[in-house]
Amino acid sequence: MTNRIIACGALGLLAGALAGCGPKIKPTDQGIRDKVLLVTVGAKTEDLDPHVVTGVPEHHVIAALTEGLVAEDPVDLHPVPGTAEKWEVSADGTVYTFHLRENAKWTNGDPVTANDFVQSFKRILTPALASKYAYMLFVMKGAEEYSLGKLNDFSQVGAKALDERTLEITLNSPTPYFLALLNHYTWFPVHIPTIEKHDGMIRRGSGWTQPENFVSNGAFRLKSWQLGRKIVVEKNPHYWDVATTKLNEIHFYPVELETTQENMFRGGQLHNIYNLHTDKIATYKKDHPDELRIKPHLASYFYRFNVTRKPCDDVRVRKALAMALDRDSITKNVTKGERMPALFFTPPGVNGYTARARIEENVEKARQLLAEAGYPDGKGFPPLELLYNTTEGHRIIAEAIQQMWKKNLNIDIKLENQEWKVYLDRQREMDYQVSRAGWTGDYPDPNTFLDMWTSWSQQNQTGWAKPEYDALIRKAATTQNTEARLEVFQQAEEILMEELPILPIYIYTRVYALHPAVKNWHANVLDHHPWKHVDLEAKAAE
């Protein structure tokens, strides 16, 4: 018996060794030949229902499968015609009329109609569905009331199908980023008859997202979905712009570990590394500069202060803590990856906005402020705990900050790491003093960063509220003139940087690697890559 097992094992190994040897073609090279892109977008895709999901991996897959009213330019993401071939905006900027193209089709051949959009908006706003991201539609008239159940008649909501191919959307106020917002998957159309057939109008996981049932309208259609293994999408022949689509298939692999992503990339199994480990940056700069990409990202890394608890209830303490950091040193020596030290909250260059407010890094002043708050040279400073979710990257930053505060202000803080869900729970319950946080913009506009500090925002979680600030964010929403609107945001951010309910640390970069054969993959702050333009090209013969 034992002998037999040994024999089996040895045979298995031998067979494996033989299968592994000999000439063979790498999956990536085969992919280039067949125009099949092999990518990872990090974590596992939870679902493909755009009204239910909330994550970034889901965005990448759904963007391949579905198209909204407008599409994105592959280079700078400015809105270009999508399912709608043209649109008009009313003089006051609140009414948009979209004209859908005649040849826009679902993967089952049905035409995409204005009513499909209206019904899709209705579905995501239906209270019983409890969509976590329904608030993305709240710029539309009556949407918020409908989703809260205060309004029962959907015809009162600002989405109307004027005819088969004309859609009118009425907004609460002129929203300059509205067209960009339309590229968020919450605004994407879903095929209502399919969902109804599977009883999924107000239910998650009804089976309509399974490959045999899925109907969509994008450049690709769903070929297979094996949970946690891979999702395969193939070129959709019914797509109106199928002539533009370059790739035959895209395979999305869930690979969470950065080191595994790199092994797969090096081993010819993937055309990209979604996140390159920062320790590898130097090696890639030296050996593979043509593959490495480091690009600014629309995301901020910061700490929240709980302003309802001592000692961070005192603005002088918060200021002292914010001033006593050396952010340059943190981004150069700790985080690496060319992140930008942040003396403000909103990542610069968003829709023409770069914050003018600046935190002054000044240790002398910080000490003085701390003394004014009653803690000269850190004496008598109450115990302070910094909460972060258990991750190596957050730990080393927290330790660096702990050290800077000790050195510059002579105060001791305690670091406390918690598992993700516990950390979220404590932040939500405001059971913390200082807490690590990050925010990725939902759309390229300062509003996505600044409206979260209003008194009514669920994302605030600091206990800080200021009527002047709330008023400015409200004012920005109704200001039609672009310059004037950005000025209102400037004032808001100045208040934020004066009051400092948060401690900005750095602006994220995306550090990744891409196979040289991948074409039309442009870097942009949202990290969107409209898939129909992406191509694979073998290097010309040498």
Binding site: G9, A19, K132, R204, V255, M264, L424, Q458
Partner: protein, 309 residues
């Protein structure tokens, strides 16, 4: 023997119920819930979500519902999939990896262990024993990347990750070698230590001397007489070890990007995916109980001193 098996199966029912209750209530006591996310939702939406997933029912009701309908319950994290669906999709992958690893572990482990035990305290003993010691000391998260570095990225013999060429339906593919080896070698090290110990005990027994005196060949004495007793410690070890191996190894699955049950097990806890946690725990518990039963039967078969009561 039948009575013994029947009694043992009946005994598992209260054990499983206890496991279910403990898992369920511990999950619920842990802070945070399935709907906590870095983008927080309004209390209204949270309430509606609770309603949709029946979290608004009293706890005991939910518990009964979970126990009765477990396989057909929706996963919180992947609502398009049921608990039973996820387990039946992922378990075969883990089981196959486990099977290959066990084959390697038993093959190499027993062989090395027996060799070492035949000439104790000589080089024939020292070399396999020190190799085994190294194997135990090298955790899989070191061994895995090392093997990838050497055999994939340097020598290019095997793909660095994957399972069945990413097709998942081939019985054997080159990419299964490294994960099976990583997992197998670790257990092989343990098994060789256990075999060596067990064999050393047995080889000094009277009945071995009798067998030799009868004129049985050296190989026959080892295979027929000594191994039977010498492997008993290995067999007790294998029960839970096999359960662990075929139910999936989180570390190996992560390193090699293998879509097995081990990842679901760990991630479901982090995600507070209440239904899936319970499903995987119950599945794992049943597996352990079953394998322990088999081990107990095997021990009686192999050890004439034991009886079924």
């Amino acid at each position: 023997m039948l009575k013994f098996i029947l009694r043992r199966i009946l005994e598992t029912i209260p054990v499983l119920l206890c496991v279910a209750a403990m898992t369920f209530f511990m999950c619920r006591l842990a802070p945070g819930g399935p709907f906590d996310d870095d983008k927080q939702v309004t209390p209204e939406v949270r309430e509606l979500l609770d309603k949709q997933f029946n979290l608004d029912q009293p706890l005991y009701r939910q518990f009964i519902d979970y126990v009765v309908n477990l396989p057909s319950l929706q996963s919180f994290k992947n609502p398009s999939h049921t608990v039973g669906g996820i387990i039946s999709e992922k378990f075969p992958v883990s089981a196959k990896l486990g099977f290959f690893a066990i084959s390697i572990a038993l093959g190499l482990g027993v062989l090395f262990g027996v060799i070492a035990s035949l000439r104790p305290n000589t080089y024939i003993d020292y070399i396999p024993s020190s190799l085994a010691m190294i194997g135990i000391c090298l955790p899989t998260f070191v061994m895995g990347p090392l093997l990838i570095l050497v055999f994939s990225l340097q020598l290019d013999w095997f793909p660095p990750t994957g399972w069945g060429g990413f097709n998942y339906d081939q019985f054997f593919a080159a990419d299964m070698v490294l994960p099976s080896l990583t997992l197998g070698l670790f257990y092989a090290a343990y098994i060789s230590r256990l075999t060596r110990g067990g064999m050393l005990d047995i080889l000094t027994q009277d009945y071995i001397r009798t067998a030799r005196a009868k004129g049985a060949s050296g190989l026959r004495v080892i295979l027929r007489h000594a191994l039977r007793g010498g492997l008993l410690p290995v067999i007790s070890f294998m029960g839970p070890a096999v359960a662990g191996l075929i139910a999936g190894s989180f570390v190996i699955e992560k390193i090699f990007a293998i879509p097995g049950l081990g990842q679901e097990f760990v991630n479901s806890v982090f995600n507070r995916d209440y239904t899936l946690v319970l499903g995987v725990v119950m599945f794992y518990a049943t597996l352990i109980i079953l394998l322990n039963l088999i081990v107990d039967i095997l021990q009686v078969v192999l050890n004439p001193k034991l009886k079924f009561d």
